[in-house]
Structure formats: structure tokens, C-alpha cells
Amino acid sequence: MHQKTWMTLVLTIITLWFLQESIGLSSVASFIPRVMLSLTLFLLIVQLLLDLRGPGLPSSHTAETIDIQEDASIPAVRRMPAWLVILWITVLPGVIWLFGVTAGGSLFCLVFMKWYASETWKTSLVFAITLGLAVQLVFSGILNTTLYGGVIAQVLA
């Protein structure tokens, strides 16, 4: 399957799933969704045919790619495969769920800077502690808002 086709196919399946879900709804609640879903499905089928017909462009040739002139003197940053990056991103909600916004955010910052960015322990610790203190000071101290404390704090309380 061509690289471009699978995304159209996934979107088609999701739209079909939504259409199937609309079957049990009353006519009032489902009228506009069904019209919009049918139109979307029609367009997706057209797009699917277009994807299958042509060889298409490589995935880097996208509608939203911006031509950016980068300074050659800047040291390069480690590149990662997309799946690994997504894994890194999914760590954040997990850590926040466990430890709360302030502690979880700081812990994520420490781990990210030490193991992803390969910074020194000192820099990583300074960034993590500063971030935690800034979040606590601004949100809890100045703005007087309650930040999520984490499931561990809830259990301990």
C-alpha cells in the first residue's frame, strides 16, 4: 500500500464507524451528522481513488511544509524516528497522572534533558527545579489556582 493511502483509509474507516454509530440515534439528533458524515465519506472515497491512481509525492512534500533557512553553525540535535518521539510525548501525561503537574512536569523535564537532550546532570537539574518552582510560584502562589496533584498524592492523603 502506498504511504499516502493508509491515512485516507484510516479516516474512511473512522467515518464509517461514526456513520454506524449514528444508526441508533433519533432523527433529530442524527440528521445533520448523517448528512455531514455522508459528504465526508464521499470525499474520502474520491481521495482514496486519487491516492491509488497516482504515484503521489513523497511524504516530505506536504501542504504545510515551511521552507526554513537554518543557521549552519548551530550544532545539530539528535534526530529520532517518529514512533520513538511519540513514545516520549506519551510519557508526559503518564508522569503527570502519577506525580501531578508540578512534580511530574519537573521529573519529565529532568528525564528529557538528561536522556533525550544528553545535557549534564547539573543543567538538567537546574532546568527541572526552576521549571517546578516557576509553575508553583505562578499558578499556586500568584494566581492562586489549584494544580492537579497526582494519583500518588491522592492515595497518600
Binding site: P33, T40, E64, A82, I89, G105, M113, V135, V138
Partner: protein
């Protein structure tokens, strides 16, 4: 204009700019700026917190402070939108579409300068429209019903084609997906649960903030990490950044007709109750994109994509006061709280407010005016240190952006699940970006879908009952004219360019 209105305007102006009263709007503006710069918080939270503190105050300082709260919050959210792709609140979401690409091109100063100028001038124009409307506002606000709301939503949706990017079909599919996402949750008419797939979180529907944070902020972070980009602007020193504040200010005057049209769109949409704060920016952006033609750089760092939503967003604040003060109908959360505050201090919106307390109305208006200018001037003076953030190494910036985005997602509705939602949309946004699926039509359809669906149902029901004659409503006819104009405009502009090319 009525001499009573002129006298009240002068009296209000003198009160706001007199010592020590001027300290109230200044303090209120600074507080609102701090609140709105923090992701997930906005002026409504600040206004709610300030109610018990100001309960014992006289109406005059209350008006001064709350006017500043309304005005002070609008601009600051644009800064994080431009620099980090994180909108301070939904109304700032549109600014990131072109503001962030400008930062990536090393033009953060231009983008912020332009946003600050459009914001200050837009609010001034909005307030000017508000003052002109005071004698007519009662009748004008009553004349708008579901039929007009429906036409307004359709007008916004006709701009989707211009935002579709390279592929019209993909753009329209993305808009369809935006509708799909907006349908999730309770149906407002029948209270039936729709498309929740048995998941409780979906019952209240998806919130715009986590969707936006995911599609833009998190998707961009994933892209940064995959591409190994060293800094946001591609530069290591602030002195190497191209663009300047002066360029930003001049760009507003270079596109002055667009700025005026966007401000007018903002003021008019702000005056229509219940539409939501983000719609004005989206419609102004859509209008700017469409009037610029298919070959413009919208979505890739076009300065007009910053000017239009910023002007509309700030002009909207003035417009939003029209139904609140004239009819007691708040246009959004902020004005609803303001309405409560007015009532708490014995001020009844409507005829009494516009006759017996007209000077106080102008105190509110001038305070709003002052706070908009303070935020923009402060924003302009802070351009250099803020633009410097775009030269920091991404490896040091990414954890901060991620934590700020996480706070924004959680704090908006107080739901941790919104953070998980944002992460899912982050992955979706990244995949859409990599595979050439435009994200802007999705977000625009998601923002306009509730207005479209509710208005269509209400209009159809009223038509069935014989309570509405769709074609006899002047505002409907005007909006229909605008819709037809929108549909014809691209073809007309294309033909015009073809003729010009041939003549060359």
C-alpha cells in the same frame, strides 16, 4: 449624535484618566495580562475570583477594574501562540496558524509587532463602533435570531475552501472531520449521547483547547524532535533574527483595508450573543485568506494571517458589550460575569443603564480602551526579550513547551483526561502535517459546527411552526449576499489574475 451621549462620553473619559482612578485600570490590566499569559487561565477566571474582592466597592472602581479585565486579557495569549504554537485561550488560536511559521522563519519580532499594533488599533475601532452603536443598539441586537446565526455560520464555512491548501478535497475532508469531532457529546436538543462509543469523557464533548494544543503545539513538538531542528527560528543569536517591530507595525498600515474589514467583522460578531470568542478570529482569518487568493502564503507565515485575527479579536471586546449593556444578554463567559457584577452593584442593563448610568457605561468603555493600549504597548516593549526565546536550543525549550501545553490542557476544564486528548490530537496533527492534510479547515469547522447545527435546527423548527419568515429578514439577505460574494470571489480573483497575466 445625541448630546447626552457626547457629554457622558467626555465625563467617562475624564473619570478614567483622572488621578487616582487611572490606577484601577492599570492594575487590572497587569493582572489580566498575567492571567492570560498563563496557559489554561483567562480573564473569566480572574473576573470570577475578583467578584468577592470588589463586592463592597463603589460602582465606579468596579467598572474601571472589570473593563480592564475584559480588555487586558485578549492580546497576551497571542504571544505564546506566536512563539510556541500554544494559544493562551481559544480566541488566540487563529493567530498561531501564521504567527508560529513566522517565528520559525526568524520573524518573531515582526509577528509580535504586527499583532500588538493590530490588537491596539482593532480594539480602538471596535470601541468606536460601540460608541456609534449606542443609540441604535437596542433594536439592532433584538433583530438577530437563529436565521441570522445560521447564515453567519454558513458564511464562515464558505471560507473553508480558501483554507484547504494544495488539495481542496483533503481540505473539505478535514472540515468534515472537524464536524465529526464537534458532534461528539450530548445533542443539545434531545439530550441524547452521540458518538461517545461508551466513553464517559466524550459525554460533554471535546473542548477546543486540548484539540488545538494537540493539533498545533504538540504536533509541532513531535515534528521538531523528528526533524532534529536546533532552534525554533533556525538562528542561534537574537541579533541574527530577520524582521523587526517596525516591519510588524508597518505591515498593519500596508494592509489597512484588511485590518479595517477584520475589525468590523470582529465588532459585529462580538455584538451577537452566544457565538463564542473564537469565531470572530476564524471568520476574519478565513476572509483574509480568501481575499488574498489561492497563491498567498496563508498557513505558512503570511503576516495578514496575524493581522486579521488579532484585529477581529480585540474589536470583538467592544462589540460584546453591546448586547450585555443594552439587553442584559451576555455574549460570552466574560460578559456573563460582568453582567453578574453589574447586577450585584445595583446596575440593571437595558434602558436604565443607557440613560441613568450612561457615564458609567463610558467608564467601562474607556477602561477597556486603555487596557487594550497598555497591553499592546507593553507587548511592543517586550518584543526583543520575547523574540530571543526563539533562539534557545529546542532541546531546552521542548520540555518547557510540553509542560506549559500540559498545564493549558488540564487547567482549562480541570480535567486530566484533556491532556490525554491533547496527546492523541498531537499524534493526529503530526500525521496530518506529514501527509499533507491541512489542519486549519478541521479546526475552523470544529469551532463553527455547534453554531451551524443549533441554528439550523432552530431555524427549521421555527419555520415549521410558521414563526419565522426566512427571506423577510434584512440581516439574512445581507449575509446571503456575503455568502454569494465569498463563493464568487475566488473565481473572480482567478479570472482577474489571468487577464492581468495575459495583458503583461
Amino acid at each position: 449624535m445625541d448630546s447626552a451621549v457626547v457629554n457622558a462620553a467626555i465625563e467617562g473619559f475624564l473619570l478614567v484618566f483622572s488621578w487616582p482612578y487611572i490606577l484601577y485600570p492599570i492594575a487590572g490590566t497587569l493582572l489580566a495580562m498575567l492571567f492570560s499569559a498563563a496557559p489554561g487561565l483567562n480573564s473569566s477566571s480572574l473576573m470570577a475570583l475578583a467578584i468577592p474582592l470588589t463586592y463592597a466597592w463603589d460602582p465606579l472602581p468596579v467598572m474601571l477594574v472589570f473593563g480592564a479585565f475584559v480588555g487586558g486579557a485578549t492580546f497576551m495569549g497571542s504571544i505564546t501562540a506566536i512563539l510556541f504554537n500554544i494559544p493562551g485561550k481559544p480566541s488566540n488560536a487563529v493567530t498561531l496558524l501564521d504567527g508560529y511559521p513566522l517565528t520559525q522563519q526568524g520573524k518573531a519580532k515582526t509577528a509580535i509587532g504586527s499583532a500588538a499594533t493590530a490588537s491596539a488599533l482593532g480594539s480602538t475601532l471596535g470601541i468606536f463602533i460601540l460608541i456609534l452603536m449606542i443609540p441604535f443598539m437596542r433594536n439592532a441586537a433584538i433583530a438577530l435570531g437563529p436565521a441570522e446565526y445560521l447564515m453567519l455560520a454558513v458564511w464562515g464555512l464558505t471560507m473553508l475552501a480558501a483554507l484547504a491548501g494544495n488539495s481542496l478535497i483533503k481540505g473539505l475532508v478535514a472540515a468534515g472531520l472537524g464536524f465529526q469531532l464537534a458532534f461528539i457529546g450530548y445533542d443539545p436538543r434531545t439530550a441524547e449521547l452521540r458518538f461517545t462509543f461508551g466513553i464517559d469523557y466524550f459525554a460533554d464533548g471535546l473542548s477546543l483547547v486540548p484539540v488545538l494544543l494537540g493539533l498545533f503545539a504538540l504536533a509541532e513538538v513531535i515534528d521538531l524532535m523528528v526533524s532534529g531542528r536546533a532552534t525554533l527560528s533556525g538562528r542561534q543569536k537574537a541579533s541574527e533574527l530577520s524582521g523587526s517591530v517596525g516591519d510588524g507595525i508597518r505591515s498593519v498600515f500596508r494592509h489597512f483595508p484588511l485590518f479595517v474589514r477584520s475589525s468590523a467583522i470582529g465588532a459585529v460578531i462580538g455584538a451577537i450573543p452566544g457565538i463564542g470568542s473564537s469565531v470572530a478570529g476564524f471568520i476574519a482569518y478565513g476572509h483574509a485568506s480568501q481575499s488574498a487568493g489561492a497563491r498567498s502564503g496563508f498557513g505558512h507565515g503570511d503576516i495578514r494571517g496575524v493581522i486579521a485575527p488579532e484585529a477581529a479579536n480585540d474589536a470583538k471586546d467592544g462589540g460584546a458589550l453591546i448586547p450585555t449593556l443594552a439587553l442584559g444578554i451576555p455574549g460570552g463567559t466574560g460578559t456573563a460575569i460582568l453582567l453578574g457584577v453589574l447586577t450585584l452593584h445595583g446596575l440593571t442593563p437595558g434602558r436604565e443603564m443607557l440613560t441613568d448610568h450612561l457615564a458609567l457605561v463610558f467608564v467601562l468603555i474607556w477602561s477597556l480602551f486603555l487596557s487594550n493600549w497598555i497591553t499592546s504597548l507593553l507587548g511592543l516593549s517586550l518584543v526583543n526579550p520575547m523574540a530571543r526565546l526563539s533562539t534557545i536550543r529546542t532541546t531546552r525549550l521542548i520540555p518547557i513547551i510540553l509542560v506549559l501545553a500540559a498545564i493549558g490542557a488540564i487547567q482549562y476544564r480541570g480535567l486530566l483526561a484533556d491532556l490525554f486528548c491533547a496527546v492523541v490530537f498531537g499524534v493526529v496533527g503530526y500525521l496530518m502535517k506529514r501527509h499533507g492534510w491541512p489542519r486549519i479547515p478541521l479546526v475552523m469547522a470544529f469551532a463553527l459546527a455547534p453554531l451551524f447545527e443549533n441554528s439550523l435546527h432552530l431555524t427549521l423548527r421555527l419555520h415549521e411552526l410558521g414563526r419565522i419568515d426566512f427571506w423577510s429578514r434584512p440581516a439574512v439577505i445581507i449575509l446571503l449576499g456575503l455568502i454569494i460574494f465569498n463563493l464568487i470571489l475566488p473565481a473572480f480573483l482567478g479570472r482577474l489574475r489571468a487577464i492581468r497575466r495575459q495583458s503583461k
